[in-house]
Every structure is written in structure tokens, then in C-alpha cells.
């Protein structure tokens, strides 16, 4: 029995998602244009986006996600661990190749999502067995521990990403409760220890978040500048390349962490609403895809990827609007960064792959 393939339906169902991705890519390129002081970063960013997009499109058509098996992912995972271990020893986040630099930490996300989805889809059930849960936790904890010394907040956020993913896959309520209480207790015990171990800039982020007025010129300088940039955008924004904060160097880390503030200053509340809507729509369709996927690997995979994209945006926006402590998490599309861009397009390509392959499934 060959399934009927209705290409028209496929087209209608996916064209908006693809267009959303394209417009967000365009916004990202535009945003780096606004920020760019020298064309260098702009061109690099453009290349990353083009590479990412072509990767996305080719992956959708050429590769079937179901062909990804554990025999491919396990070596990838172990290789990644090795690289992270080496980096940890050298206390570095980046590997540099000429003008490009890679941040292997970013690739932990897609690899782990794939790995967990694959393992979980072997015996799908509403509740994970304790043995499996433990296995997943161990798989997750290794790369995070390796990242922890060099990139604390990234590690913590990745922890939140995967824990939330596991909860959605199905952690029994009792174990969840137990884990929660356990983490709290451990947290309370370890907190003073960890707090003393933190470096001053890491503590400063917490101080800056809690006492914004007091540390206006020091720890919360970044946050205050971000708030001024966002707030002064108003409804319509300052307009293309006109924002004071961006142009006059008041906004620190504007290429990466605070690129969303640049967008907010330039295009105002209208621009923000558009980006929030498009990004939200993308996440929503990710969940829809997970709903409609016909196999469990696809379901888990698309939800996992969606959750990664969601938390990524969540911590970036939360940080620059002052709702959460400032973290060095970039915003997908709008922020500059080779690894993040590629990793985002890779995650998207997984989601779209699930979406399209559904029609070819028996």
C-alpha cells in the first residue's frame, strides 16, 4: 500500500514555516548590518546564515531523519565529549580556525536531543523507567560538567533545557518530586560553597539583577544600557541605523547577548511584536509537528528541538529585559555567532525533516 502523497497539502502546511524561517534569517542579517561597525562581522554573519539555510534546505530534501541511528550519534557524542574535555583542560570555550571560531558547547544541544530522542523512542511510554531516566541523566550530565568551568550559565541553561525535555518525555511524578526536593536540599547545602567559588563577574550578574539601581554603573551597567536601548525605542523605534545606544557604543555585547536590544531600539515595539510573533509561531509549529509526527523518534525529536529554541529565546529576552539575571546566551537568528547559527539551523532542519517525512511514512 503506497500512501497517497498530496504535494499541495505538504506545500500549504509547510510554506509558512519556511517563510517564517526565511524572514527571521533576513532579520538576523539586517540586525547585524545595523550593528556592524566594520563589515567583517556582517559578512561572516551573512555567510553563516547562508550556510545554515542551505544546510537546512538540503537536509530536508536529501536526508531522512529516521536514517540517523545510535551508531552514528554515539560516536558523535563521544567525540564531542573528548573535544569538550580538551577545551576544559585548556580553559577555553572556542576552537579557532583562522578567521572562524567554533564553540563546541553549542553542538551539545542537537547531539543530546538526538541521542535522548533515539534512546527514548526505543520503548516509548508515558513514564520513563527509573533505569532509563538515570541513563539519560548521566548522558546529560557529562557534557555539562565539562562545560561548567568555562561557561557556567550556558551549562546551567542547558541543564534546564534537558531536564525540561525529560519531564516532557515522562518522568514519574514521584521521582520528579523526589528529584525536585533533592535538588533543593543539595542546592541549599551547596549554595554557599558554589557562591564562594563563583568568579566576581558571575556574582556581579546576580547583584546587578537584584540591585539594579545600586550597581547602575558597575554590575548592572549592561542591563541598564539594555533597558534604556529597549525603552527608548518606543512604539516605532529609532529607525534603521539611528539608535543612539547601538551607534554610540553604549550597548555592550551588542553583536551577541544584547542583539535583541538593538532590534528593540531600532524597530521599536512594532518590530519586537513581529519578531516575537514569528518566533512564537515557529515554536508553536514545532509543537504541532511533534503532535502530528507518526513515529516516536520524530515526536521526541521535534519537541526537544523546539524546547531548545524556546529556552534559548527565553533566557536571552529575559536577561535583556531584566526579568531574569543577565546570561551570555545568544538569541537565535538575531545574534552573531557561527556555532549558534549553525546549531539553530540544524535543530530547525530536524524539525522540518520530521514535518515533511510524515507524508512519506506508511
Amino acid at each position: 500500500m503506497k500512501p497517497q502523497i498530496n504535494f499541495k497539502e505538504i506545500f500549504i502546511e509547510n510554506i509558512w514555516k519556511i517563510l517564517t524561517v526565511f524572514s527571521l534569517s533576513f532579520f538576523g542579517i539586517l540586525n547585524q548590518w545595523i550593528i556592524a561597525e566594520n563589515s567583517n562581522i556582517f559578512w561572516k554573519n551573512l555567510i553563516w546564515h547562508i550556510v545554515g539555510l542551505s544546510f537546512l534546505l538540503s537536509f530536508i530534501w536529501l536526508i531522512d531523519y529516521r536514517k540517523i541511528t545510535l551508531s552514528i550519534i554515539w560516536p558523535c557524542y563521544l567525540f564531542l565529549l573528548l573535544i569538550l574535555f580538551i577545551l576544559m583542560i585548556f580553559k577555553k570555550r572556542w576552537i579557532e580556525f583562522g578567521i572562524f571560531s567554533f564553540q563546541p558547547g553549542e553542538y551539545v544541544k542537537p547531539i543530546l536531543i538526538l541521542l535522548i530522542s533515539l534512546l527514548a523512542s526505543k520503548e516509548p511510554s508515558p513514564h520513563l523507567k527509573f533505569k532509563n531516566l538515570l541513563k539519560f541523566l548521566i548522558i546529560i550530565i557529562f557534557p555539562l560538567i565539562l562545560i561548567l568551568p568555562t561557561d557556567l550559565d550556558h551549562a546551567i541553561i542547558m541543564g534546564i533545557m534537558f531536564i525540561s525535555f525529560l519531564i516532557f518525555i515522562g518522568v514519574p511524578k514521584r521521582i520528579l518530586l523526589l528529584l525536585g526536593v533533592f535538588t533543593l536540599i543539595i542546592g541549599f547545602i551547596l549554595f554557599p560553597l558554589i557562591w564562594n567559588k563563583l568568579e566576581s563577574h558571575q556574582k556581579g550578574r546576580i547583584y546587578g539583577y537584584l540591585y539594579r539601581e545600586k550597581y547602575e554603573r558597575t554590575w548592572s551597567y549592561q542591563l541598564n544600557q539594555a533597558l534604556i536601548a529597549i525603552g527608548s525605542g518606543g512604539i516605532w523605534g529609532h529607525g534603521f541605523k539611528k539608535g543612539w545606544s547601538t551607534r554610540l557604543h553604549y550597548l555592550p555585547a551588542k553583536h551577541t547577548d544584547l542583539s535583541f536590544a538593538v532590534w528593540a531600539e531600532t524597530w521599536g515595539f512594532i518590530g519586537i511584536s513581529i519578531v516575537l510573533f514569528l518566533y512564537g509561531y515557529l515554536l508553536y509549529s514545532g509543537i504541532k509537528i511533534s503532535q502530528k509526527a507518526k513515529d516516536w523518534f520524530g515526536k521526541y525529536l521535534s519537541l526537544g528541538a523546539t524546547l531548545v529554541l524556546f529556552w534559548q529565546a527565553f533566557f536571552n529576552i529575559g536577561g535583556c529585559t531584566g526579568l531574569l539575571p543577565m546570561t551570555s546566551i545568544p538569541f537565535p537568528f538575531l545574534s552573531y555567532g557561527g556555532s549558534i547559527t549553525i546549531s539553530v539551523y540544524f535543530l530547525l532542519s530536524l524539525i522540518f525533516n520530521v514535518s515533511l517525512r510524515r507524508y512519506f511514512l506508511k
Partner: protein
């Protein structure tokens, strides 16, 4: 086989489907919560952005602007003030000002201030205090020193590298070429105070601004001020200035053309220089002020260049307060007031014609009281003309004794005494005319007719300003037109147009022509043969009245500070009256011997008669008014 296989398939498929549905259901539930999580978080973010960008937009915009835009004020040049004969008496001069930008020297303010204090030779503490006070205004930069000389400029420019944030700029500053002579008329400007600044900043004033303090500078502040300009320049996070985003050029103030005659004003000041007193000259045709001088005076320029502490103490500790514009202060008018008594007597039909005369024995008896004439010998038989000419007290005692005080007060008011003249200056006093009601209210005593008698010769509770008196004589000169005095006749606008300010007639007094003639006659006689002879100039018609206003009783008059005020109020002209003047010398002595010669010199200058031709032998007449009572 086929069948079995088919059934087998069906059963398998059924279980598979059942499992799928069951699992699908729990997954649906999970995904529902995932959706909730995403929608809820994004909604919160959206609300947050709404709050930041729409609700709090003004706050953040202001913060952004304060941070990234520097505002430099450009002070508008103040309007010029020019006399009717084209002499500029208030103008602007370009000077070099030293500014310091606090934003550029954030952490090393004290260090730079210290260096500057060394270069400029100023006290560090004072400089610092001034700087921090000015800094509070957020106007970008702070004026450190005004009017730098070349030496200072060179010293600063050489060290410019070590003095970040400093800036030398050319600016316009107020300049008064004739500071002292015009001090009370033109007024002066001085730095705006912090309190004033708070109120006026919405009108575009800067903390560096000057504001008119007195005279024309104060009254016409709005015209003279112009509109300050502003430059807004972007400044980046490193303090570098970028492009100008907004520039509004300053609009200069408007030019005022005065009615004042410069020559006359200068002469008047010269005549009064070492005395304490005032000269007001009006045009009898329209009430225009031709000259207004008050002494002692202050050089208005000092308010720009600064007083030394010693000078300032001197000014403030002086008994004869130089800040007072004496032309607008109330004084006892003395005999100059007799004109009003005469007019009241004429309109009350107490005096009916010139033949009506009375005998002056040197005193006047009213009941048990005796009022002395200043001429103890007496004037003999006097009619109205002679009484005015010789300022016979007895004559006016007699008339006053028949007058009701309220009627006299009414006539005085009608002639513009006891109320503001309409010049519109804050420093003007209204003077004072007593009446029965006032007396009862203040002293809880009835009015005695004896007080009316004293009032008849201008003594008593009466207070009149020199300007008011000049106006009374102006009415006599022009035949009944009581004009409001005015000093600015044209305002030259920036677009080249000129606003003319027309003289304003306060009222037309209905005067009996023959009464007017008699009074004029009396006043002319006073200058020709009477008490005002010292003012006489051959070929010029001068009509005036002397006055010697008693400050204290006669026995104390030897002390200089308690001497009488000397008055001479008059009008003069070749055929028609051309000028009215009121001259008052505080504690000067006798009107005839002190004030009248000044009038003569003033008129000579005005009519262009050289000193040589004149016989200045004439000595002033003695005139003391006694009003001691003997019971």
C-alpha cells in the same frame, strides 16, 4: 491463508492502533502544556516590552537622551538700547569665555579644577564651589571664567592637552558705555539666581543667563532677552562628540529706542555727580522722559565684570543707598506743592481774580496757633502771582485754611499725585496724599484744619515723587494734558519693522484758561524776580517753583544729613515750553540756592547757550518755611 494472514494483520494492527492512541493521548496532554509554557512566556515578554517601550517610553527616552546627547546653550545677544539721538547706551561685546564640560572629566574634576585655579590665580575652594553648583543644572558645560585676556588664553591653550574638557568660546556680553549715568534709567543685568532659573527655565533661560534687574532692562526684559539657541550634539560612550542632531540658532533681542536725550542725560549726571539727588526731565508735549538721573549711582558694567568685595560692601553699607532710583521715590514736596494749593483755591472759588490780595505780616494766625512765613519780615501785600513768585507762605496758609483737606487731596489726585504715574516700573513709589479717612484710621484722631494749613505749603504727611511733580508742571506747561511718562518710543524688531509706542494721555484736565495764565505768570515771575532767580537765562522762557522741604525742625538743620531737601521744578522753552524738569537735591539746603542753579546749567546745556554769555552772579534766595506752633 490469505484470510488468516489478513485477520492476523487486523488483530496486530488493532493492538498497535490501540497502543498508539493511548500513547498519543498522553503525548497530546504533554504537548498542550508545552504550548501553554511557550504562549505564556511569550505573552509575558510581550507585556514586558509593552511596559518598557510604550508605557515607560518617556522615561527611557529621557534617560537615553541625557546619556547620549549633550546640549549646549547659545545665549542670545541682548537687544541694544539707543537714545533718541542715536547713542548706544547698552550693547553687547564679544568676550572669550572659559567653559568646562563635566562629562568629559568625570573622575578628575578636582584635579582639573585645581590646575585651572593655579592658571587663573583663583582660589581653589571658591572655584570648586561655583563649579559644583553650576553642574547641577545639567546644561552640559559650566562657565569657569568670563572675559579671558590674551595671557590667560595663551596659558590655557598651551596646557590644553593636560586639561581635558575645557573649551574657550566667544560669546556676547552686556556692555554699558555710560554705566553710571544711565544706571537707574537703563538699569542693569546680573546673573540669574537658582530660584529664578527654576521658574524661568521653561521660558528658555539658562543658568548662565543674565536677567534685567532694574529700569528698562527689567521692564523690557521680554523684548531685550531674545531667544536662546541650543545645539544638541551626540556623544558616544567614550565621551567623543559626534554629529549635531539639532541646532536652533539664537534670536537676538529687539532694539529699544529711547526718548532720552543723551546730551541732557550726561549733563544731568555731571551736575549731580557729587550730590545726592535726582533730575527728571520730561517733554511737555507728550510726557516722554528726556532725562532721568539719580545719584549716587553705580556703574552697571560692574555687575558683569564683578565687584571687588570692598566695593560691594561699600555700596551696601552706604546710607544714601545708590540702588534707589530717587526720581521714583516719595519726598515731602515743600513749596513746589503750592501750585496745587493755588489750583484748589482757584477751583473752590477762594481766589477769584488777581486783584484779590492779602497782607503778609510774616506769619499767619489760625485760632491760637501761629504759622510763620519763611520771610520773617513779611511780603506785604501779595496777590496770587506774587505769592507764587516769592513763595509766600502766609498767602497759601490763608487759602489752605479755607480749604477742605479732602478737596485738596482730590485735586492732588486729579493732578496725578499720590498714585503711580503709569510708567510701569516696579521701583516706582506712588507717594502719599493724606486725607481725613486715613488720619482717622491710622491715628484714631480727627483731622485738624491746622494740618490742612501745613499741607497747603507742601509740608506734613505729604509724599510726592519727583516724576509726579514734573508731571504736574508738565500739565501747566501744556495746558491740561496729563500724559503718562514713557521712555521707550520705538522697538526695532528683527525683521526690520519698527513698533512705535505712542504717548498715552492719562486724562485731559479741564482748566480755566485765565487761572492757568495766572499760575504760569506766577511761575515765570518766580524765575525772573522771585525765589528761583538762580535759574534765570536771558532769552529763554523759564517758569518754575523752588521748594525747600523741611525734614526736621529748624533747630536741627545744621547737621548735614538733616538739612532740607532742595527742590526746583520748572519748565522752559524758547517760546513754547519744550522741557519740564524736576530737580531734587536730598538734604541740599534751599531750593533757590541749590536746585535752581542746577536747572539753569541744565537748560543752558539743553538750549545750547554757552556759559560765558550768562551772568551767573545771581544768588539763590533764602527760603525757610517755619511751621512751629506757638500756643
Amino acid at each position: 491463508m490469505k484470510n488468516i494472514h489478513f485477520e492476523d494483520y487486523l488483530i496486530k494492527d488493532f493492538f498497535k492502533a490501540k497502543q498508539k492512541i493511548l500513547k498519543g493521548l498522553f503525548w497530546e496532554k504533554r504537548l498542550f502544556w508545552a504550548k501553554i509554557l511557550i504562549i505564556f512566556s511569550f505573552f509575558i515578554f510581550w507585556i514586558r516590552f509593552f511596559n518598557l517601550q510604550v508605557v515607560n517610553y518617556p522615561y527611557y527616552y529621557k534617560k537615553a537622551k541625557e546619556r547620549s546627547v549633550v546640549t549646549y546653550g547659545i545665549r542670545a545677544p541682548r537687544g541694544e538700547i539707543i537714545t533718541s539721538d542715536g547713542v548706544i547706551v547698552a550693547t553687547n561685546k564679544a568676550v572669550f569665555q572659559l567653559y568646562l564640560d563635566p562629562e568629559l572629566i568625570k573622575d578628575k574634576e578636582d584635579e582639573i579644577l585645581y590646575k585651572l585655579s593655579k592658571i587663573l590665580g583663583e582660589e581653589f575652594g571658591m572655584l570648586k564651589e561655583r563649579y559644583y553648583l553650576a553642574k547641577k543644572t545639567f546644561l552640559g558645560r559650566v562657565l569657569i571664567k568670563r572675559n579671558l585676556n590674551w595671557d590667560e588664553i595663551a596659558k590655557i591653550m598651551v596646557r590644553k592637552y593636560y586639561l581635558p574638557g575645557i573649551k574657550i568660546e566667544v560669546e556676547f556680553e552686556r556692555h554699558y558705555p555710560y554705566g553710571e549715568a544711565y544706571f537707574h534709567l537703563v538699569g542693569y543685568v546680573s546673573k540669574i539666581t537658582w530660584e529664578e532659573y527654576k521658574n524661568l527655565r521653561k521660558n528658555g533661560y539658562f543658568i548662565e543667563d543674565y536677567i534685567g534687574r532694574a529700569g528698562i532692562e527689567k521692564v523690557f526684559e521680554n523684548r531685550l532677552k531674545g531667544k536662546n539657541g541650543v545645539i544638541e550634539i551626540e556623544r558616544d560612550a567614550y565621551g567623543r562628540l559626534g554629529k549635531i542632531i539639532n541646532r536652533s540658532n539664537p534670536i537676538p533681542g529687539e532694539t529699544l529706542i529711547l526718548t532720552v536725550c543723551h546730551n541732557l542725560q550726561m549733563k544731568a549726571y555731571e551736575l549731580l555727580k557729587d550730590k545726592t539727588g535726582t533730575i527728571v526731565a520730561l517733554s511737555p508735549q507728550d510726557g516722554a522722559i528726556l532725562a532721568m538721573v539719580s545719584t549716587p549711582s553705580i556703574d552697571a558694567q560692574k555687575f558683569i565684570t564683578g565687584f571687588t568685595a570692598q566695593e560691594w560692601n561699600e555700596i551696601n553699607s552706604k546710607v544714601d543707598t545708590p540702588f534707589l532710583n530717587r526720581a521714583l521715590q516719595g519726598y515731602p514736596p515743600g513749596s513746589t506743592y503750592k501750585i496745587i494749593t493755588a489750583i484748589a483755591g482757584l477751583s473752590a472759588k477762594i481766589i477769584n481774580d488777581l486783584n484779590q490780595s492779602l497782607f503778609c505780616p510774616g506769619f499767619f494766625r489760625y485760632g491760637t496757633r501761629v504759622f510763620r512765613c519763611w520771610e520773617a519780615k513779611g511780603h506785604g501785600s501779595v496777590n496770587l502771582i506774587k505769592a507764587i513768585a516769592y513763595s509766600c507762605d502766609t498767602y497759601f496758609y490763608t487759602i489752605a485754611s479755607k480749604l477742605d483737606v479732602d478737596f485738596l487731596a482730590q485735586v492732588s489726585k486729579e493732578w496725578g499725585l499720590g498714585k503711580l504715574t503709569g510708567l510701569g516700573w516696579e521701583e516706582e513709589k506712588s507717594g502719599f496724599i493724606p486725607n481725613k479717612e486715613w488720619k482717622e484710621k491710622t491715628f484714631h484722631e480727627p483731622w485738624y484744619q491746622g494740618e490742612t494749613i501745613i499741607l497747603g505749603i507742601g509740608q506734613g504727611y505729604l509724599l510726592v515723587t519727583p516724576l509726579q511733580l514734573a508731571r504736574v508742571y508738565m500739565v501747566i506747561a501744556n495746558g491740561g494734558y496729563l500724559y503718562r511718562p514713557y521712555v521707550v518710543k520705538n522697538i526695532r524688531l528683527l525683521n526690520g519693522k519698527t513698533i512705535n509706542i505712542d504717548p498715552q494721555l492719562e486724562k485731559r484736565l479741564n482748566l480755566n484758561l485765565s487761572h492757568l495764565e495766572w499760575i504760569r505768570e506766577g511761575l515765570m515771575e518766580a524765575v525772573k524776580i522771585g525765589t528761583g532767580r538762580a535759574a534765570f537765562i536771558p532769552g529763554i522762557m523759564i517758569a518754575g517753583k523752588t521748594g525747600t522741604a523741611q525734614v526736621v525742625s529748624l533747630s536741627l538743620k545744621k547737621i548735614k544729613h538733616l538739612e532740607h531737601h532742595a527742590w526746583f521744578v520748572s519748565y522752559a522753552g524758547r517760546s513754547e515750553p519744550e522741557i519740564v524738569s524736576a530737580i531734587l537735591i536730598e538734604h541740599g539746603g534751599h531750593g533757590g540756592s541749590v536746585a535752581a542753579p542746577i536747572a539753569q546749567k541744565l537748560y543752558k546745556h539743553y538750549f545750547g547757550i554757552s556759559e560765558v554769555n550768562i551772568l551767573s552772579k545771581q544768588k539763590g534766595y533764602k527760603e525757610i518755611t517755619g511751621n512751629e506752633t506757638s500756643d
